[in-house]
Symmetry: C2
């Protein structure tokens, strides 16, 4: 089923049932979903429309454009919607009444869209379904995990080509272009979807030395110098020099599912400090994984990472130097910033089926970044690694 | 100045003055801008923070991350912001009071962010600054137009390579990957920023024959079959056959500025109907351009396009077959969907400095799409074309 990326009806129903449990817990009568990824997650189609999920009973999938395509894509019953103005009447017809309070995707729904929904559902009290959604989506099915695994394999295939591309004088941008081509021709979906407001990503970040260590506005441990003030992160036009740590941070995309991996390369030997910091990153990685199993709060993994980093000589550089980010990992799936966050105070217990990227990185401003990042699934016993490139600092000799 | 993509202080001040005029017209006391592109437009930096523009006086640029980088990027005075909680106090200190009503980017600001701003500015009445913003950004400076022109040249360089890549059996995805590589290695910025909720784009759309004509959820005349239900637009894995019209719709990105162009290729001769429809698209293009000059309502260009298309044998296929989109063009700049829209009822008069993409296209479901798209600037006398590939149906013989 996962092979063509289409969830089964049974899987979609299971997602809906879990979501309904969370909706009831939050005191919501149901939810109306309009954002692309959320609609897709429950319906199997991203065609435009409204997915209305009551706290009990079957969801209603109303598609304005294109209903014919939606019917071919979704294993569930899909109903055409002639005009957006009909939404409330259609919901009332099919569900008896409008679910109330009606949960919205308040974390991503623009204010103007909120006004529009209020005019489509006059007098209906609204609530926030964001947390119920994120909790539901945090638990991946075996088919979803297989899609992430495939995205991890895609990244590994492209990363295996890096030694062929890494030559003295190649710019960060050229190296990025070569790697992106390897990803894309193998079926990378292109977009890296983000949920956080103002967060952006293009394939990931390939950069080296001082430009890799440039602080950016992104909520990520590394940002990079980028191509200019309107493109202020990611690769720069600077040629990569010998001995610089080259951070190859890539997000695969297979059928919309993402896998996040970072590896470090170098043209010739790196300074000792970088080699040691790379080992320190591996040590933090191992310390965190030793704690990762169902029932452990996600925040505990962040605390363990900080403790492990404090035992290295590089604590001042961990997760940033002047600006430290407040997490060492993030859930990932259809979007790159899902639950759980491995962050201070994020006390959600880990559970089987959660998938997250763990990225202990050390940033040396003006000099370079090293670290390691892999994507893991929580299993009954612990973790399974879904990204598969060898975990070593890979020195390329010309 | 434009060469490194950095707007001058003078240009930023001029943008602010125009915005202030629109704010006053809309009865707003000022605006607080938090979205990446809007902040960049007025400050010259995309670093994270708040740009507060009073209806009179200088804007306040408060940067939380990274203030040092923001100071290097912006030609204006930038002030560090330690904590978001300080925003209102800082605004009061510098401007005497909080501008009121305070305009927000309601078209893009998520509801949860709106709540956050309300808590940061307790008791302050909010308004909507979206229209004032879009009206301001609709008028491009000569430096902005030059950036779009450079994005157009970038696209033309990649398009010139298409005859080398177009071989029988090459898939839409492979052709896309090859073209994207040509764009990227020359400095394409990657992201195509969209303003519309749920709108997405990855470089543009390269596809052929029946898969090119697949209806998608995107608000665009063509969508394509894509790679699966979670990636339901753009190129598919289908091999391109002889005689199929190949639509090469690409968006360049130079220093954040976009240019949109579509050309049609074919491996060997296309069916007569496609050749004729391509000529019809050129005729619509010409008819619209003959009317395009300052003072003419944008909607008039849409009406002219419909009239011109009605005089061809292909009116039923114009801008869609089952689902027609309601516009024949769209403003473009830092985002791909800016003012003016060449759409029914969009009566904003064209003005010197406006930049838009015009895309008369004919869709034959199950068979293919043909059309032409170029990006134009409105000049004092009429229009200047900013995308430069030859406007012909390019037949490639192996």
């Amino acid at each position: 089923m996962v092979l063509d990326g289409r969830p089964t009806a049974e899987e979609l129903r299971s997602r809906t049932r879990r979501f309904q449990g969370h909706l009831r817990e939050q005191g919501l009568g149901g939810a109306v979903l309009v954002q692309n990824v959320d609609r897709y997650y429950f319906s199997g189609t991203m065609q435009m429309g409204h997915v209305v999920v009551p706290a009990d009973g079957d969801p209603l999938i109303l598609i304005r454009r294109d209903p014919r395509r939606a019917a071919a894509e979704s294993p569930l019953a899909v109903e055409p919607l002639e005009s957006v103005r009909d939404v409330a009447a259609r919901v009332r017809d099919r569900l008896g009444d409008i679910p109330s309070p009606l949960g919205l995707e308040r974390d991503v729904l623009p204010a103007a869209q909120l006004d529009r929904l209020q005019s489509l559902f006059p007098g209906v009290p609204f609530g926030d379904a964001s947390r119920a959604l994120l909790l539901t989506r945090a638990i991946k099915s075996p088919a979803e995990i297989e899609a992430v695994r495939r995205a991890g394999r895609l990244v590994a295939e492209a990363v295996a080509e890096v030694p062929r591309f890494l030559r003295e004088g190649v710019t960060e941008l050229e190296l990025s272009a070569l790697i992106e081509f390897e990803l894309r021709r193998r079926g990378h979906g292109g977009l890296i979807r983000t949920r956080g407001f103002n967060q952006e990503m293009f394939y990931g970040h390939v950069f080296a030395g001082a430009t890799a260590a440039a602080v950016s506005f992104l909520d990520a441990p590394t940002g990079g110098a980028g191509l200019g003030p309107a493109l202020p992160y990611g690769p720069s036009p600077r040629p990569i020099g010998r001995g610089e740590p080259v951070s190859v941070d890539l997000v695969g995309n297979v059928q919309g599912y993402l896998a996040d991996q970072t590896r470090v390369f170098a043209l010739g030997r790196v300074e000792e400090v970088f080699a040691e910091a790379f080992e320190a990153a591996l040590a933090v990685h191992e310390a965190v994984l030793a704690e990762a199993r169902p029932g452990v709060p996600a925040s505990r993994l962040y605390d363990v990472a900080l403790q492990a980093a404090a035992e290295t000589p590089f604590a001042a550089h961990f997760l940033g130097e002047r600006h430290k980010v407040g997490f060492v990992g993030h859930g990932i799936g259809l979007e790159v910033d899902e639950y759980p966050f491995l962050a201070r105070g994020f006390d959600l217990p880990l559970a089987e089926g959660m998938v997250f990227a763990l990225e202990p990185k050390f940033i040396f401003e003006g000099r370079g970044v090293v670290g390691v990042e892999d994507t893991f699934a929580i299993t009954a016993e612990g973790v399974e690694r879904l990204t598969t490139s060898p975990q070593e600092l890979m020195v390329v000799e010309e």
